[in-house]
Amino acid sequence: MGEGVSDLLAELEILSPASAPVPFDRVELERRARRYLSALGVRAEDERLALSQVVLKRVELRIVVGQLGDPLEAAIEETHLLLDQWLVAELDLDGDSDALSAARAAVLGGDVAGWTRRWAGLSQASLAQTIRAARVSAVPERAPLVMDANPIELCCHRSGPRLLARVGRLLGIRGKSARSNS
């Protein structure tokens, strides 16, 4: 029974294929993609144009495979994904999400000159070294030590209840535990 419910809930997460093409405003989509690119730091018109065209193509592909959802959200997601894929390729990252995240922070933080040109495919000069140098690690490599709780044996901390229980027994009054045990 439990599995049945799980299966039902799991279905909720599967994106259902669109039964009909999702209408979207291509102009608005491009405008939104360009605005987002601008916020990412892509200021040059030719770079924005190149990148927004790639983003639009990827959104159109999602329509074809029926996984569009909200078109504008898809445009933002694809732009984000495009940046991540470029960083992975540029730095030759192999699934290290922390390294990718640090690289993204480095380029978006403005520490890598010329990265937008390279991302837009308008520059051949590799920026791998510069990006690696600009990546900042918030914490060093782990160097763990074991730190377990040290026992502190309190004196007499149970003696109060014990004393009361003993007095109770002497007086013929049975405590809760005695009742529950009987």
């Binding site: 809930l9 997460e13 939104r32 605005r35 987002y36 916020a39 990412l40 730091g41 909200d70 504008l72 959200e73 445009a75 933002i76 997601e77 984000h80 999400s97 922390d98 995240s101 640090a102 993204r104 922070a105 978006l108 933080g109 403005g110 520490d111 900042v136 690690s137 918030a138 914490v139 060093p140 490599e141 782990r142 160097a143 763990p144 030590l145 074991v146 730190m147 377990d148 709780a149 040290n150 026992p151 502190i152 044996e153 309190l154 004196c155 007499c156 901390h157």
Partner: protein
């Protein structure tokens, strides 16, 4: 064997016997005086209670008195001998080991935190030894805006330093076990990287020279696990804080010298401005939860005493470096803030009552625990003592003296104990006030030092005013602390509010709210005493005056203008003011020139919403989070929060919910893309008040 007996015993073996003998003899002496005075015809129950209370309180104040007196003798001897030429300091071997400067923070003002760290780092750079140190900001901050601000300041400082490997930042997902848990987690994750860690508070400042010297001393003694450098209070401007800063600077060094005399290798940890050997700390200072529920069970709140006791129990040395300067802290600016801080500390100290008799601790550690308890329990005991004295005086006033017994024709005059009672009073007053005079004597023999305190005349006047105000403030603090102790005994727990550290002033409404009850108590008690025990009333006036004047005193002493005026008039001057240390100047400079935040301007939006939307801040924040296993349940919760945020605005989200939205990469990404996909990203920025 014979030679062993004849071998000279090192003088340090006599330190503790000397100190404790003096404390006990003083207590016995005053007790004997009081008992003679009160047991004129046997001893009643009330008189017995009075004697017991007086014995406990006299033990407490004579312990403090003899600490100061011994400190005075040590400092005086040091002065008379003159400074010996010190050997040139050895450079540290930066390659051999590293020292972490760790600053645990919890919702503190990030600009002050970073200004302090930058000042210390600049001071460290001046020593040329910075290569051996790394800075760690151990954030337990829960407030989302402060969290993001900390990250942005950290990032910006990294850029400025150009040495990213020396400055680290982490925010704990769960702030388990508060500050001690924060430090423990640091050791669990990175303890193996460091030989030492210097623990700082958010308002700590330490000079580079002191930091380096602390490491040097640890290197010189491989059995030393903890070295505490007493912090001197600085940097506040209110009258109240300047008065405490003066007292802390003038009397503090005497007390520190006295403490190190009798504590020796079983000193205490004050929670910050101390260096710890990391490995023994990790091995022995993992704190258990105490059995039972709060306020006496659960997490150990005042962890520092317990950590010192655990190190001592394991055979490590814990010392107080009374001779090291360059260690500073900031204090609460007003009487009410001071009391609030006491409220937080009170529960932790009272919890130590359960540890006094715990197995395997050293005797001196037990005494530290008992003293910690007494620093708060003394107030209700004084209160009880005053009440008992009043009742005893009232009962005595009801008695009609009988001059003729049986067939005696000569009247039997009642015996007078005025001499004994007056001696008791004078001895008590001497014990309380003599340390202040001893501190002035130290100034009198050292002109340079006197000049640093504004000259002997200015310092004497300051001591006089400080003593008078202490008399007025003592009963107020007594009532505050008695209330806290009562609340805790009634099982009310304290929260973990961050401290009010910056200068601010007490308003009339706040003062009436806090002290109205004190004034009322003064009026009612004063009236009752005046009507029923008029003789007692006059003895009682210092206490009544403090309570009756608590509202105006609290307001006036909180004034920064009055504090600044006193400074101009040469009152309450401290060496940190007259010869401002370089590191404090650096702190001022850094506060005047704060770090700009990393990433571009975020317009007027709160930082936590900027972290969802502005790509630069979003990416920075995301880079400081970590991947977690996917969980459908968490995704649904996050989506629910995102809908709530979009539909109802940010104002309806609690701090915890806001923090949850910022704590997971998954949710942050969802928010970021949805905000940018919204029809007008600017308008769709979550509404905030």
């Amino acid at each position: 064997m014979t030679s062993l007996w004849l071998a000279p015993v090192p003088a340090r073996h006599f330190h503790r016997p000397i100190y404790f003998s003096l404390v006990i003899l003083t207590t016995l002496f005053t007790m004997s005086l009081l008992s003679v005075a009160i047991q004129d015809d046997g001893i009643s129950t009330l008189e017995l209670v009075l004697l017991i209370l007086y014995a406990i309180l006299m033990l407490w104040i004579s312990a403090s008195f003899w600490t100061a007196a011994i400190g005075f003798v040590r400092l005086m001897r040091q002065r008379l001998r003159g400074d010996r030429a010190a050997a040139p300091p050895r450079a540290l071997d930066a390659g051999a080991f590293k020292t972490a400067l760790v600053m645990p923070v919890y919702n503190e003002d990030p600009e002050r935190v970073f200004a302090g760290l930058r000042a210390m780092y600049a001071s460290l750079e001046e020593t040329g030894e910075q290569a051996g140190f790394e800075l760690f900001i151990l954030s337990d901050t829960r407030d989302p805006d402060i969290w993001i601000q900390e990250e942005m300041l950290w990032r910006r400082w990294i850029e400025d330093l150009g040495e990213p490997a020396r400055l680290f930042y982490r925010n704990r997902v769960e702030n388990t076990a508060r500050k001690s848990g924060n430090l423990a987690d640091f050791c669990r994750d990175w303890g193996g990287r460091y030989r030492y860690m210097i623990v700082l508070d958010a308002d700590s400042i330490m000079s580079g020279e002191t930091l380096v010297e602390m490491v040097r001393r640890m290197e010189a003694d491989s059995q030393l696990a903890l070295l505490q450098v007493p912090p001197v209070p600085v940097n506040r401007s209110s009258f109240f804080a300047r008065m405490l800063q003066f007292a802390g600077s003038l009397y503090g060094r005497m007390f520190a010298a006295g403490l190190s005399f009798w504590q020796q290798d079983t000193a205490n940890f004050w929670g910050h401005n101390a260096i710890l050997r990391v490995r023994p700390f990790a091995d022995h200072c993992g704190l258990p939860k105490l059995p039972g529920s709060e306020p006496f069970g659960g997490d150990i709140l005042s962890h520092d005493f317990v950590e010192a006791a655990l190190l001592a129990r394991a055979g490590w040395k814990v010392q107080l470096a009374h001779d090291l300067g360059g260690s500073y802290e900031e204090i609460p600016p007003t009487l009410i803030d001071y009391a609030k801080r006491d409220r937080r500390w009170c529960q932790g100290n009272l919890q130590h009552a359960r540890l006094i008799l715990a197995h395997r601790f050293k005797t001196l550690s037990r005494i530290h625990f008992a003293m910690g308890v007494m620093s708060y329990a003394a107030s209700p005991l004084w209160l009880l003592f005053l009440i008992a004295t009043g009742v005893e005086a009232y009962l005595k006033s009801l008695r009609v003296p009988v001059y003729f017994f049986g067939h005696n024709v000569v009247p039997i005059w009642p015996e007078s104990y005025v001499v004994e009672m007056t001696t008791v009073l004078w001895v008590t007053l001497i014990i309380l006030f003599l340390p202040k005079i001893l501190a002035l004597v130290l100034l009198a023999v050292d002109r340079d030092e006197a000049r640093r305190f504004g000259g002997l005349r200015g310092a004497s006047l300051s001591v006089l005013i400080e003593s008078l105000l202490s008399v007025l403030l003592a009963p107020v603090l007594m009532l505050f602390q008695s209330k806290f102790v009562a609340a805790i005994l009634l099982r009310t727990t304290v929260g973990w509010p961050s401290q009010q550290r910056g200068d601010h002033q007490t308003g009339f409404v706040e003062a009436v709210g806090a002290h109205g009850i004190h004034t009322l108590i003064a009026v009612v008690t004063g009236y009752a005493a005046y009507v029923y025990v008029p003789d007692f009333f006059w003895w009682f006036t210092p206490v009544l005056a403090g309570l009756a004047l608590s509202i105006p005193v609290s307001i006036l002493t909180s004034r920064t203008s009055l504090g600044v005026w006193a400074k101009g008039a040469g009152l309450f001057l401290t060496p940190a003011e007259t010869e401002e240390p370089r590191v404090l100047k650096q702190l001022e400079e850094k506060l005047a020139d704060p770090l700009p935040l990393a990433c571009a301007s975020t317009a007027a939006q709160p930082l936590w919403t900027a972290a969802m939307k502005e790509p630069c801040i979003y990416a920075l924040h995301d880079s400081l989070l970590h991947d977690e296993p996917q969980s459908r349940r968490r995704r649904h919760i996050l989506e629910g929060l995102i809908f709530q945020l979009q539909d109802e605005g940010a104002d309806l989200l609690s701090l915890r919910e806001k923090r949850a939205l910022l704590s997971h990469r998954e949710g942050l990404y969802l928010l970021h893309t949805r905000l940018w996909a919204a029809s007008d990203p600017v308008a769709q920025t979550p509404r905030t008040g």
